[in-house]
Symmetry: D2
Subunit: 346 residues, 4 copies
């Protein structure tokens, strides 16, 4: 029997993208679709692009409406997942797109989110060493944040292979859907079109500790991360430009072969990460609507740094696609089922 | 056995979109992929978003490379299709995205294209009355232009039902991919971003006679069309704003119920045309990457005009999606196979 | 002594543009700058582009703060101007960017705005026949709406010369700043980028009666207008595509010379309207930040219609620039003082 | 008598911006306006936004057409300036927007430009310590590149005060006008809208040695720079996100006061650089069309790095505005004459 999947928080951008992917997913059926203030409205009103689901009505997000499904995907504001998850059967896979269960260190949580730590769940980035086994048939999964997904995929092989010093600099550009659907003046179209601006500069962005956690785990040592996100004039997409100082022994000849070999090995069997051939660079347009991460590297011999660039769609691989990938693993389905690898361009 | 399909002119935007759709089409297999000046390059270089086809190499566009397929899709510059089609077996379905075989009147062709008319093929807009039967198992199909697709779908039921006078005014906004991939100064990103500008004003655009042909055929009388395309600062999408003077008897009470009923009947069973509920308006974002046309109508009692608005993705329903829809019909496959109905938004 | 000018409603987009123009205006000095909910904040916070005024503090919008200036510019939401204007000395020029005093027919006002009509002031479009004399040294001026400015300038000479039938069709594309700074979901950057969508279709937009008023006045007969505005993915700019049926005697040979001569005569001495040479078309990028309106015309002999296209910056010529032009006239300054004619492009 | 200024290379984006600024400059008059392949065309054709100069005809770029002016501004492709400058009188100020005379080290020039070094001229960034005196009444000036302008202004006070280690990481986002007006496939509107992509990664961009030169000079020691430019979906604007490791003694308490004081001192008297108040961040929209650079800093205590962000308009402060600023100094005019400090937003 086809598993039925519920989606909570379906009125936001992440929820809409989950529904877009599930609507053409051949291995699951969409069950309850819930929201809070938008409950009672149709999906046609809330997500006019979801033509095939236009007449579906959003229900209230409660444990009751979410019960009785083979999996539940949560796309809620931070801090709302724990209570719901507690009310769902422990054997029902719950895939949480929120931040609540991503961080392992309660002090990190308190410092960046200001509330009590709810705990930590298996971290839903199957491409990290050892992660896939943990995620297969998992019943609780914390889907990574969009920036950590992009920057971790672009950088972690270098840290894991100790090619670079444990100090990364990450500058990211994100489409404005990354800021969500909340009404804030600086997100008005007239403000964002034609403009780039940074935010959360100086280590204050909530994705910083998650990135530190990922890279430190890969490196087996504490990695510091200087992370600066910027808002770019596009609806979707993340481009991360990451760099770290080369260790004295790495790329001593100034060439990139050694580094490339490490990245090739890391991604040889990954269906959703593609290391580009030399000389070509990732663009966010190339991954629009897809679950693909494009990665490229360059050695800067003069500055003695390794530069790693990655591009993802923040709503697909960065959120909803990552969640469906984890859901597939949790339900024992083929990992890539229903997930596009080709972008929609131009 | 799965039919193998060749794509000629695969390096352009239309060709790339055809490949994107075919790559996830469950009923066909991609055969030869050909180009002219890009022959020898990989699809990864030419269409970096087509990750699943990145290593495929473009062959030369010749009758030989296209031979031996169950269907051939042509995405060539105008004037190149006839010679190729002649060299292909008459029973092999050839789906032509070019203009060569769209117009029935040789005088129209000569006036707008300046060369000899190659002839006319079945017109690939299945939603037109009577068209679907002609397209099923057809061996030659002329896929409509992007603007005529949008404007015909938005307007034809009104003309067919004689709700309006035979004089339509159509103003269209198109994303810049509609102008193709040729290098022209006014298509540079710095020129188009933040700017709208018209072109082909005064009846000079080549899609004008095609639109006249479609609406006249629907109306059973000669319809004149004032058509003005504009270039909009977006990569994809067409929004058509059409209007025509209401006939004296139509909407005499100023209400739109009568008109709505006509449009509802016209589109009740169409999988790719959706008449929106009252009060909601089509947007190009809602159809991005999908084969859906969204349509809405309004009666303007003061101006005594019917306004019909339609939105499509110029590269999908407007070109490549329409072509695949016709290919499905030609091959006897379900009409909607492999064609997304949901857009990718925001 | 340099006249001091107050600006009320300075926190919105129109208010910000007025300040941008006044900051480099050689003939006036900026006096009180007021707002409602933003009172107490600095201009640096509210309009970060106004570097030269960054430390100015917004005062409360009251008759008291506005008193004692040589002119007062109002950029308030509709319905707020009358009370303020009444409290200002009758000899102090008040230039109102709101709609309150634009319409002459109280029935129009009630139908489109739903409240009591406050009256009508001299209409601030100096380019209309007879208008300039009325505006010179005027003490109360109603600045036109952005769409009526663009469409009136593109069309009125044709109606005034009776070249066309009294039935105009106007389709306009506007940058999203035209919708103001209010927080509405469909104005979020992620929604508007890459998308075009219509609104107020079927005659419902509040600028319709203003346009009817202008064209009827020019024609000396009642002109009906089918007006459809669309929201375009750009911060600023309006492109209007207007057309009307040619009268039987006009352009009988299908040529446009006769029409062009009429437009050339109409704009020969206008500093802010430029009829482009044949074959070139207005773009909104060309007028960004300037007070210029670019106009072009084409005769469509097959459809027997005249197509007139106009481009303005909705915030400059369409609002703030128009207001400063009227302020200059009211204060007896040279009409074009402080008003840029060149756009900022690309 | 008002000095007459010639502009060579007037058909490109930099040339167009120079003309836009000069057209409203109260202290100079535009003399010869020259180009190569566009010679004979009007400015109205080439730069449709320059309404006030629409009928001016572009002359051939030769020493003869440029002779007899009080100053000459060159906006030519790299490698063309030397020959022209040699043919102009040595006492006539020549302000070169090209790269030819920016670098002091011939080896740098050869490595990044592959030809013989033409020499070095006074470097036209008046904000650098000691530069202004050298530029006043200078007869030859090399205007900085757009990226070096932005990054130098954002970073140099930190290096000059030895707050940071001599290793800077600079990630820049540029509007696509920065790539010039040449026709290249990746600059088509359909490719750039909605997309971000890096280029010249790994130290290969030609602005790298210029940035190293500037920061090293400010620091009094060799500074290495890892520079990654990215192409952003906007016509204009540069946002630079720069960071460098704090020296052990700097910001030992994790606070930013000490750093802020250094930047405040550096920019206290600069008319075109504004250090924003704490908590506000530069955006490219805020400086559109202006000669202003907005700068902000943050200390990241966890990563022990100083992050400096700067925003400029690449065509104004980054090229043409910087050139006019230098021209003013060279002609003995007030440095800021004719240069807007306020951006055009939203």
């Amino acid at each position: 029997m086809t598993p039925r999947v519920a989606v909570a928080g379906a009125s936001g951008y992440a929820g809409g993208e989950i529904l877009r992917l599930l609507a053409s997913h051949p291995g699951v059926e969409i069950g309850a679709v819930t929201a809070r203030t938008s409950a009672g409205r149709t999906l046609g009103e809330v997500h006019p692009h979801l033509t095939s689901l236009a007449d579906r009505v959003l229900e209230e997000t409660t444990a009751d409406t979410l019960a009785g499904h083979e999996a539940v995907l949560l796309a809620l504001p931070h801090g709302r997942s724990a209570a719901l998850a507690d009310a769902l059967p422990p054997h029902t896979p719950v895939i949480d797109c929120g931040a609540d269960f991503r961080l392992r260190d309660p002090a990190d949580w308190r410092r960046f989110y200001g509330s009590e730590h709810a705990g930590s769940w298996p971290y839903g980035l199957p491409e990290l060493p050892g992660a896939r086994a943990e995620l297969r048939n998992a019943t609780r999964v914390a889907v990574p944040g969009c920036f950590p997904t992009a920057a971790t995929l672009a950088l972690f092989p270098a840290h894991a292979a100790r090619l670079v010093e444990p100090e990364a600099v990450v500058v990211a550009a994100s489409g404005t859907s990354g800021a969500g659907r909340a009404l804030r003046p600086h997100l008005l179209g007239a403000e964002v079109m034609g403009s780039m601006t940074p935010y959360g500069v100086g280590g204050g962005h909530r994705h910083t500790p998650e990135l530190v956690q990922n890279l430190s785990r890969a490196a087996g040592e504490r990695v510091t991360v200087s992370f600066t996100p910027t808002l770019a004039p596009m609806p979707r997409g993340i481009l991360v430009t990451c760099s770290a100082r080369l260790r004295p022994g790495t790329a001593a000849d100034g060439g990139e072969e050694e580094v490339r070999a490490v990245f090739e090995a890391a991604y040889a069997d990954e269906p959703f990460v593609r290391l580009l051939p030399p000389g070509r660079w990732p663009s966010t347009a190339s991954v629009l609507g897809s679950n693909t991460a494009l990665v490229q590297i360059a050695v800067d011999p003069a500055a003695r740094r390794l530069v790693c660039v990655g591009a993802i769609d923040n709503l697909t691989k960065g959120t909803a696609g990552g969640a469906v990938q984890c859901m597939n693993l949790a339900l024992g389905l083929p990992e890539g089922l229903g997930l596009p690898v080709n972008g929609t361009a131009p």
